[in-house]
Amino acid sequence: MSRPAAPLRQKFFTFNVAVLLFFIGAGVVFAYFRFFHGFASITNLSPGFPWGIWISFDVACGVALAAGGFTTAAIVEIFGQGRYHPLLRPATLTAFIGYFLVALAVCFDLGKYYNIWHALVFWNGTSVLFEVAWCVMMYLTVLAIENLPAVVEQYKGNVQLPGSLGLLDRPTNWFLGRADQVLRRTMAFFVIAGVVLSFGHQSSLGTLMLIAPYKLHELWYTPLSPLLFLTSAVSVGIPMVIFEATLATKFFGRKPETELLSGIAEYIPSFLGTYLLLRIGDLAYRGVLAKAFDGSLQGYSFLVELSLFAMPYFLLKRPRIRANGTFLFLCACSVILAVVLNRFNVFLIGVNPGNGYNYFPSVGEIAITLAFVAFGVLLYKIGVNYLPILEEQAPDHEPA
């Protein structure tokens, strides 16, 4: 049943790639101003809102939405659900791209980005950010290792270096062969490490804003925040896999994998259920549920967030909904939007620093964020086009 993964080898420069390059180009223009003329030249950041969408979307949402990597790895490799193996490589690739972009976005947001390595040398154990930085760095390394087998598989045995470097073909081949063996033997170690590291920083992102009890709205300021961040990240893992697989199907003209996706979607309601139980239980226990109905922006934002979480929970419990590719995709989108809105709520909408400060992202901030998204999509396209990521499909199939 399972076929090996293979590079797509499609025409690379399509109209869609041009669109992506346009967005990246726009971002580069704004990035010039950010790096040479200061934040004030293109951002709406202020002393009251030192963190804008580059942190709330590029970093917080970026990390959460890359959760497809560790959740799929856990389901397939640790919990032994081998039938979902075809979903593992694309999920691992997108997770790597996601974290790579998070790291890049952090460099855009840091005032002295060239000091980023200080986190390795100067330790402050009380800082939540310190823990996040370490976990993200280590997990990015683990993800790179988890993606290596695809690279090794592609080039092992057929290395053809140009010109006089051809002399190195055989040693490189030998090296790749050895690497293949070592990776096969040690991969289990990295897979588990990836899950543990993900647990660590996914939850710590939820701890970040707990240092500002007088700024963050009660609906989100809860000691349970780390656990809620973790459970919501786990909940959004499979929906991200569904989202990406559906889009890849559409844009690369592949056969839909609905059967596989609806199978793995069966886990979503239990994850979402756990999250909703914790979330509502926490609000009820702290007695702040009434705040959701006080007519404030924060109250409405919370209600939208909660319904986006709750709808797919009830819908995906039904096998008929799961079996329908369109409904499945819409439910996945709902969970993704819910998590994105939740992160925005915690880092921006629910924040009131006092002194009349308010924030709405500027054109420049949005342009740079869009450039990151476009860059991510482009990297994914490069990855699946030239590396064995997606499962090879039966040739008799007519693209839709």
Partner: protein, 304 residues
């Protein structure tokens, strides 16, 4: 077989959840840092301040800060808020209805247990033995988590610079305290509204002022206990609540208590991460062994 597998999955998920709950449960705040009465600080007396802004000028001179004009002619230094160029600022709070007005000085509070120090990823902000909270621009990477963490919104960022750093009041630690001189702002004050001294002495002065004229002052020294205590204190006129001076009714616990106890619990001797790793490893081993056994039982007929 499928049932047992799913049951196993659920049991482990539940166990993981319980473990995570135990970790995330708010511990009692770690032991509070005791204020040191010998550290330096300042007492800002809103009842005595006449709003002359001599302290503002002295601060700008001492720290060589540029002027900030909010007027069209750009002639006068007239900042509206503390900023990267304005470490201290006199603000007027006016209640037209009751005809009460009051000046208040904004500046770094030099907390006993600073949130910025707890938050800083590299430890670039540190409480010094002299009482000041010192910032090290060389260490800083500009993440601005200190600005998020500070309940008083004190740390400022150089938004207009290509390579920005954080700026804030230094309590004149290196430029004056080290030379046995008081802070520039306190020396410039003509009204005795800014008193420089040791924390313990300042508390005594503040208390004696309240006792000497209870009809003039609110019976509270702001900063004695707020957010775990600060080294900068405030007195306010009887009719003017501290909150209306931009000094909110903060709890007496440091704001970093919760984050630090969560961090501490998760990483205590690395036990929780190692435990999770072991559990996951066990599950993986169990599942792979079962798969191999199943494959053997079927005589290797199945793929993989």
């Amino acid at each position: 077989m499928d049932i047992s597998r799913r049951k196993f999955f659920k049991v482990t998920a539940a166990a993981g959840g319980v473990a995570a709950c135990a970790v995330a449960k708010p511990a009692l705040a770690r032991e509070a840092k005791e204020p040191d009465p010998n550290e330096y600080g300042m007492l800002n007396d809103s009842a005595r301040c006449i709003g002359c802004k001599a302290c503002q000028v002295a601060c700008k001179k001492e720290n060589k800060l540029p002027t900030e004009s909010s007027l069209e002619d750009s002639l006068y230094d007239s900042p509206r808020n503390t900023s990267e160029h304005t470490y201290t600022l006199i603000k007027l709070f006016k209640d037209d209805k009751r005809g009460v007005s009051s000046f208040v000085k904004r500046q770094c509070m030099h907390c006993v247990d600073p949130a910025c120090q707890s938050a800083c990823i590299v430890g670039a902000l540190k409480k010094q033995p002299d009482g000041s909270v010192k910032y090290d621009a060389q260490m800083c990477m500009g993440c601005r988590y200190c600005m998020v963490a500070c309940p008083f919104n004190i740390p400022q960022f150089e938004w207009k610079k290509a390579i920005p750093v954080i700026t804030k009041c230094t309590l004149c630690s290196e430029s004056r305290l080290a030379k046995n001189k008081p802070t520039a702002c306190s020396e410039a004050c003509p009204a005795g509204a800014i008193v420089f001294g040791r924390r313990g002495d300042l508390l005594k002065i503040a208390r004696s002022r309240i006792e000497a004229s209870p009809e003039l002052y609110v019976d509270h020294i702001y900063g004695e206990k707020e957010v775990g205590g600060t080294n900068v204190f405030y007195l306010s006129k009887k009719e003017v609540a501290f909150a209306s001076l931009g000094l909110p009714d903060f709890d007496y616990r440091p704001v970093s208590g919760l984050t630090e106890s969560i961090q501490h619990r998760i990483f205590q001797y690395f036990i929780p991460p190692i435990a999770v790793y072991t559990v996951l490893g066990g599950i993986m081993y169990y599942n792979q062994r079962r798969k191999n056994q199943a494959a053997q039982a079927q005589g290797g007929e199945e793929h993989e």
